[in-house]
């Protein structure tokens, strides 16, 4: 039963990924502008455009184009970026993605490692003392931070830490060989911004889920059994709140990989989201498709992991009758 549930989720994830690949392909084909013309720019003549179209496979039927693309993607070949093709120098997309993926993963992991423990802690603290001044200030602060758009948070932090105090750089300039404190200081502004944005959601979800569990009869029973408060929260309540909390964490991590365009732009951080925006501006369709696939795959993988975690936290599925 457990394995069937997990396999079922896995199958659904694969199907979703496939559907998403079709949607991405249709979507990028709907974007206006002819790639060949953009590449050739001023030098475009009807003949040279047609020749380049043929070279890029753009004269084939869209379905055929999709199959060729899908087969290549499955074999790990994301295609060749069209930028610079006019000059005859196509860069393989895999090579372009490499450093960007590193940057994005680095930021995501650091933000996750900082935000998740902090938010679980604050969420639990709020849930342990509902209605107190502490709980109300946490609730108030998180609600405000969720309502404020990300560029405002980023700009405000720049004003405080870079402009007024002058402690941190307002722009991330990565040479590539930074380590330890230097790296942390370089990345501090985007990390701070993202931790604030991500934590608010996780805190609120943790508080709400744990509070909901805390009002259940088995928690009252634990109180009447004389179980200490800490143990009630950590052993009795948290186990039953795992599902929703893991899901909100997964959604936020996925957002960190693909959704932080504004934050990357403000700090000119060379991450994946920024790369995709650049690709759209250049009408570099293979690169757009590759980025979109990475973002969607990240979402699907993280949600899959979250689903598995909630299945595993449910004893009914783990230990069938």
């Amino acid at each position: 039963m457990l394995w069937r549930a997990i396999l079922g989720r896995f199958g659904i994830s694969l199907v979703t990924l496939w559907v998403v690949s079709i949607l991405i392909f249709i979507g990028t084909n709907l974007l206006p502008g002819d790639v060949a013309q953009i590449i050739l720019g001023q030098t475009a003549t009807p003949e040279s455009t047609a020749a380049l179209r043929a070279k890029l496979g753009l004269d084939k039927h869209p379905i055929e184009q999709y199959w060729v693309w899908l087969q290549n993607v499955m074999m790990g070949d994301l295609g060749i970026s069209k930028a610079g093709l006019g000059a005859g120098l196509g860069t393989p997309i895999v090579e372009m993605l490499g450093p960007r993926v590193d940057n994005t993963l680095r930021l995501t992991l650091i933000v996750g490692a900082v935000a998740i423990p902090i938010s679980l802690f604050l969420g639990l603290i709020a849930a342990m003392h509902p209605g107190t001044r502490l709980d109300r200030s946490i609730t108030f602060a998180t609600l405000n931070l969720i309502s404020v758009p990300d560029f405002l948070v980023a700009t405000a932090l720049v004003l405080i830490f870079a402009v007024s105090l002058g402690w941190l750089p307002s722009i991330v300039y990565l040479r590539g060989d930074e380590t330890g404190w230097v790296l942390l200081k370089t990345l501090a502004m985007p990390i701070l911004t993202l931790v604030i944005l991500v934590s608010s959601q996780i805190i609120r979800m943790t508080r709400a889920t744990v509070l909901n569990v805390m009002s259940s009869p088995y928690i009252e029973m634990a109180i009447l059994k004389g179980v200490p408060r800490r143990r009630i929260i950590l052993r009795h309540a948290l186990f039953n709140a795992v599902g929703p909390i893991v899901n909100v964490i997964a959604l936020n991590l996925a957002w960190l990989v693909g959704g932080v365009v504004v934050v990357e732009q403000i700090f000119s951080y060379p991450g994946l989201a920024k790369l995709m925006i650049e690709a759209v501006q250049m009408r570099d369709m293979p690169l757009v498709q590759a980025c979109a696939m990475i973002f969607c795959a990240t979402y699907i993988v993280l949600i899959f992991i979250a689903d598995i975690a909630s299945i595993l936290s449910n004893p009914r599925l783990r230990h069938p009758k």
């Binding site: 109180i223 009447l224 004389g226 200490p228 004893p315 009914r316």
Partner: protein, 604 residues
């Protein structure tokens, strides 16, 4: 030597949003001696649970202590701080809640939850506690005592969980047990087993107990003293024998009166033939139904098999059986909520489509469902006149004055005042809500009313009044009733005919008088003998009987072949009953029993 627990002029109040205090418990005093069982009895709202919880120094959220003392061995628990209380709870005073299914944490193993308290309080080490738990499982006659601790709550039955709760409470060797309606949610056959286990374990451990319930028959079996409560005040406080045999207070007598007599022949409500027509109002034939995907005609989880039931016009048919036997499933198939895999549902002799969506509006109108929980069946955001007005509009096309007049009539029918039309469900008591629930079904002018455990959630006095109302409505309207209950006494007092379901099969059916008098199907016999009687000493006598010895608390299991009751049957025939589907024996007076034993053999 002083008493173990002295409750002295206890006062508890509820604080509302405007910071006003409403008294809930108004100066209650009683004592519990060592090794003694004191029962707190009363309806919901009488404050019985609130008083019982005060012995743990606990009040439900929103309530607070406003006066008096609760002394455990001379020490007031109300004035203890939270560290002292934590030491008290589970160690000296242990609590057993009404619904074990809700009070066991689904994510932790049974063993951890049973032993948690005494290990946390440092009374025993984990190994000692595990050993003690195993001893308790044996004493409580639980299956597989050596492996039980490693299982999760969803892997054992409701009756077993209730006994495991007792093991949890007893593991820390408390001086005082607080039992809050511990058998109310159980089937009679399970209840008797749990009661027996509680009684012997309390005696063995020498613990004292406060036993909270609304059921006088249960109290009579287990209590030494009885405290009768009404609206937070003591009405009567005396020994169990005195209260049960010579109740002195008027309210106690009313409570006694509301206890339905044990089921026996002669209680059924005979229906005159005036509403009769040729075809039954509703009939199901050769029904096969269940849950899950249907593959080659068989649902993944089959629940009902070979079910044939006919409800004559104006008659009421009681459907009885333990939880999991398929009672509610049968009602859902009749209503079309669950399409049958095989078989027919006939209304006035005409076949109905299996699924609700395919049925015509007139057909839907003729079969109405009254759900068990009025609380969840009535939309809290709708006023009563909207709740009753909707079916009037939808089925009968009534509008304006006509609709309003009809709503008034419906409120009259269920004996509620006219001004209730403007109220919301939350402003009504449980019994009143159930009346609205009934009125809503009647608003459609149905021919058949499916009542699924409609009084199970109500107190005895309120429930008895609803039964009276149902009887009157039946005479007045000529509506046929399908009355589903796990409580044989309730069914016996209301139904013309009884259908006994066991594991999805009809094991016996016939006129009430025939079903409730010999010859019985062995299962019917077990059901009847398990209903507690309102007298001291009944439990001990019953435990000696053959049925009780056959091991009555078993989970109902569905079987592909043979008689499903085989495991629990005291007169089972080896190699016959477990192999072959039993034949239906039709006895005099259209009385049918599905059993391998012959009529002569039933008569014992």
């Amino acid at each position: 030597m002083s008493d173990l627990l002295e409750v002295d002029n206890l006062r508890i109040s509820a604080r509302n949003d405007d910071d006003e205090l409403t008294p809930i418990v108004k100066g209650v005093s009683f004592t519990v001696g060592r090794g003694e069982v004191v029962a707190l009895i009363g309806e919901s709202g009488s404050g019985k649970t609130t008083i019982a919880l005060s012995s743990l120094g606990y009040t439900k959220p929103g309530l607070e202590f406003t006066g008096g003392e609760v002394r455990l061995e001379g020490e007031d628990v109300i004035s203890m701080d939270s560290d002292q209380l934590r030491g008290l709870r589970g160690h000296r005073v242990a609590y057993l809640a009404q619904s074990a299914a809700a009070t066991f944490n689904p994510a932790l193993t049974i063993g951890e939850q049973v032993t948690e308290t005494c290990v946390l309080h440092g009374i025993l080490t984990q190994e000692e506690a595990d050993a003690r738990a195993e001893t308790l499982y044996r004493a409580l006659e639980l299956p597989d005592p050596d492996k039980l601790g490693k299982r999760y709550p969803h892997q054992v039955s409701g009756g077993q969980l209730q006994r495991l709760m007792a093991a949890t409470a007893l593991c820390g060797k408390p001086d005082l047990l607080v039992l809050d309606e511990p058998t109310t949610a159980l089937d009679v056959t399970t209840q008797i087993e749990v009661l027996k286990a509680f009684k012997s374990v309390i005696k063995q451990e020498g613990a004292a107990a406060i036993y909270v319930t609304h059921d006088l028959s249960v109290v009579a079996q287990i209590a030494d003293h009885i405290v009768v409560l009404y609206a937070g005040e003591i009405q009567e406080y005396d020994t169990a024998e005195q209260v049960v045999e010579k109740p002195s207070h008027d309210y106690t007598r009313r409570l006694m009166h509301a206890v339905r007599p044990p089921p026996a022949a002669g209680q059924g409500d005979e229906t005159t033939g005036e509403h009769r027509r040729e075809a039954p109002a509703l009939e199901v034939k050769d029904l096969l139904a269940g849950y899950g995907r249907i593959q080659s005609g068989l649902p993944a989880i089959p629940v009902l098999r070979d079910v044939n039931v006919a409800i004559e016009r104006g008659h009421s048919v009681g459907i009885i059986g333990e939880s999991g036997c398929g009672k509610s499933t049968l009602a859902r198939v009749m209503a079309g909520l669950l399409p049958a895999a095989e078989g027919q549902v006939l209304l006035d002799g005409e076949e109905l489509k299996p699924a609700l969506e395919q049925r015509k509006r007139e057909e839907l109108q003729k079969i109405q469902f009254v759900f068990q929980m009025a609380d969840t069946a009535l939309n809290p955001r709708q006023r009563i006149d909207n709740i009753l007005g909707r079916p009037l509009e939808f089925y009968l096309g009534l509008k304006g004055n006509e609709k309003r007049r009809r709503i008034g009539e419906l409120l009259d029918m269920v004996e509620l005042p006219q001004e209730f039309a403007g109220r919301y469900p939350e402003e009504l008591s449980g019994g009143q809500k159930q009346r609205i629930n009934l009125a809503r079904a009647l608003a459609a002018s149905p021919e058949v009313l499916l009542c699924d455990e409609v009084i199970s959630a109500l107190d005895s006095i309120v429930g008895a009044n609803v039964i009276e109302l149902l009887k009157r409505l039946r005479k007045q309207t000529g509506v046929s009733f399908v009355f589903i209950s796990h409580d044989l006494s309730t069914v016996a007092s209301f139904a013309d005919e009884i259908v006994v379901l066991y594991a999805g099969r009809v094991v016996e059916k016939g006129v009430t008088d025939k079903v409730l008098s010999p010859p019985y199907h062995p299962y019917t016999r077990l059901l009847i003998s398990s209903v507690p009687e309102l007298r001291v000493g009944w439990l001990e006598e019953t435990m000696q009987t053959q049925e009780a010895q056959a091991g009555i608390d078993r989970v109902v299991t569905l079987k592909d072949k043979g008689c499903p009751f085989f495991d629990r049957c005291p007169v089972a025939i080896e190699d016959t009953c477990d192999q072959e589907t039993p034949p239906v024996r039709t006895l005099a007076g259209n009385h049918a029993i599905e059993c391998h034993r012959s009529e002569a053999e039933f008569a014992h």
